[in-house]
């Protein structure tokens, strides 16, 4: 079985972004970029499936400018076999991304598509579910445990209130949560090897998918600042303030 893992290049999780002065977007120029942390977990899980003999090949795919090839190389250094880059300068909504990924999934005949549950820039949490819908495949989101046997996936999901376990026939879409695994670090020899792994560059036109405009971002603003707080000297003072000033207890 072939596993497809869509990955995204995002601003590094430890960087605090700022909104541009003209309120058109956040300013991402000259910021450190990285593989989205949830995508890293997805790649790790796919590679573990291959190591366990459940998967035959791990293909990573990313959509964006030429710069995303850096993240595709990272994914290959972590163990993915080859990469596909769909090159575009356009900012796409998750539905459009899902449509492009559907074309790739069909072409590759991937039996399992593993996504991160959300990207830490858009915070949408949509693409995996949308691909599953378009492909008519079952889905398991927020996975914290994944087992593949024969033609079925059994997935434990993190849901409000606890854990839920589902089983479904393949092909299926799984989106991963933080606790699924601990991604490995890429070793230097693997980084070198990844440079020689195949990376196909294609355009949106090659896929023959027609996309439309779904939404317009009118403005991007900073969140309202909290007013400065005060430091209290003792537990007594804290209780006093909460009772008389804030009136919350």
């Amino acid at each position: 079985m072939k596993v497809l893992v869509p990955v995204k290049r995002v601003v590094d999780a430890n960087v605090k972004v700022r909104v541009k002065a003209d309120n058109t977007n956040v300013d991402t120029a000259n910021l450190k970029m990285a593989l989205n942390p949830f995508c890293e977990i997805a790649v790790e899980e796919a590679v573990r499936l291959k190591e366990a003999g459940s998967a035959t090949e791990v293909v990573v795919v990313s959509i964006g400018t030429k710069a995303v090839q850096e993240q595709l190389r990272t994914a290959m250094a972590l163990g993915a076999d080859r990469a596909i880059h769909i090159e575009t300068d356009e900012e796409l909504v998750p539905l459009s991304i899902a449509k492009l990924l559907l074309a790739i999934q069909q072409k590759e005949q991937a039996g399992l598509v593993i996504f991160g549950k959300q990207s830490i820039d858009g915070d949408n949490n949509q693409t995996g579910q949308m691909l599953a819908a378009l492909a008519g495949m079952p889905q398991a989101t927020f996975a914290s445990e994944l087992k593949i046997d024969a033609n079925n996936a059994t997935v434990t999901r993190e849901v409000d209130g606890g854990l839920q376990t589902l089983t479904m026939p393949l092909p299926a879409v799984v989106t991963v949560d933080l606790r699924l695994n601990e991604p490995r670090y890429a070793s230097l020899p693997n980084i070198m090897k990844a440079k020689r792994k195949p990376l196909d560059v294609i355009t949106m036109a090659d896929l023959g998918v027609s996309l439309k405009e779904h939404q317009k971002v009118l403005k991007v603003t900073p969140p309202s600042e909290r007013k400065a707080g005060i430091m209290v000297a003792s537990v007594e003072e804290l209780i006093e303030k909460l009772k008389t000033e804030a009136k919350v207890i």
Binding site: V93, Q126, A140, M231
Partner: protein, 307 residues
């Protein structure tokens, strides 16, 4: 055209989140229908029809809907979608699982975690872990969106809506195997007025008992940072943050939590934030209304004793 709200429930109780989504729906329009899909969920319907602003409750009661799987829930909503311009649910685990599937089947984009309604096609949502707010206009004929419930008030329950029974029974390829729910006598994180949260500074699972004592004195829920969950101190459904629950209680007490961006994204809309930390440089003090630089192992028991 009418607005469809997907009810959040466990087949017995209607979640408070739904009453908040109804408030968000009221800001869009007036004809609000609630869909209750579940199994043996008559009790849920009793609560649902009393929600103010809801004119109709659609009930799909069948064994296939018991676990509220995205696969057939989305297919069920698709059979109803012609009558609605807006389809809403809470940004809960069921909502986040199901709504994108509905949106894709309708070939429309989804707007996630709406925190404010500007007009019937324009909404505000946080991006980059809450470090920016995007005002987004939908160009689609149907608007599918999840609502961040902490941003809206609870709709009152003095109404009496009509109940309509749906007969569509749609099977799913996905099968439910089991579930393991965390049992707690304390209020739910999402709806608690006060939350006491612990981080890595708590040191161990046993030390969380200190917070539980404090929480019981205050009638509060207990939460945790990702560091505390990853260290195995508490189960992951207590996690407050970008990747856990987003909360906005009246009072949030952060104990031994440094205040990483990912945690702040989950609680910075709380009305009053108290931070107890022994590191005066901890970023949590920048968002705290009241900060106490102290050893939590002295401060927390002292706080419990004085309440």
């Amino acid at each position: 055209m009418a607005i469809l709200v997907l009810a959040e429930h466990d087949n017995t109780h209607l979640k408070l989140d739904t009453a908040k989504v109804v408030s968000a729906a009221k800001a869009i329009g007036t004809e609000i229908h609630l869909l209750v899909a579940g199994f043996e969920c008559a009790e849920v319907v009793t609560f649902a029809k009393a929600l103010d602003g809801v004119s109709k409750v659609l009930v799909a009661d069948a064994a296939v809907y018991q676990a509220q799987l995205a696969e057939n829930l989305a297919a069920l909503v698709l059979t109803l979608a012609d009558d609605y311009e807006h389809i809403l649910s809470a940004a809960s685990s069921v909502g986040k699982d199901t709504l994108p599937r509905i949106a894709a089947l309708l070939d429309v984009s989804q707007i996630s975690e709406v925190v404010a309604v500007v007009s019937n096609d324009t909404f505000v949502r946080p991006i980059y872990a809450g470090n920016a707010l995007a005002t987004v206009q939908s160009l689609d004929s149907k608007k599918v969106m999840t609502v961040r419930s902490s941003a809206f008030d609870v709709a009152a329950s003095s109404g009496n809506a009509d109940v309509v029974t749906l007969t569509q029974v749609i099977e799913a390829k996905t099968a439910f195997v089991s579930q393991e729910l965390t049992v707690s006598a304390r209020p739910e994180l999402g709806s608690a007025g006060i939350i006491v949260s612990g981080g890595r500074g708590m040191g161990s699972s046993e030390n969380f008992a200190l917070l539980e004592t404090l929480a019981d004195k205050l009638g509060a829920a207990v939460g945790a940072s990702r560091a505390a969950v990853d260290a195995g101190f508490v189960p992951n459904d207590l996690q407050v943050g970008q990747t856990g629950k987003i909360v906005a209680p009246d009072l949030y007490i952060a104990v031994g939590i440094s205040g990483a961006i990912q945690h702040l994204a989950g609680m910075k809309d709380s009305k009053v934030i108290v931070a107890i930390n022994k590191d005066p440089e901890a970023p949590i003090f920048q968002v705290a209304d009241y900060g106490l630089e102290a050893d939590l192992f002295e401060a927390v028991p002292a706080l419990s004793n004085l309440l």
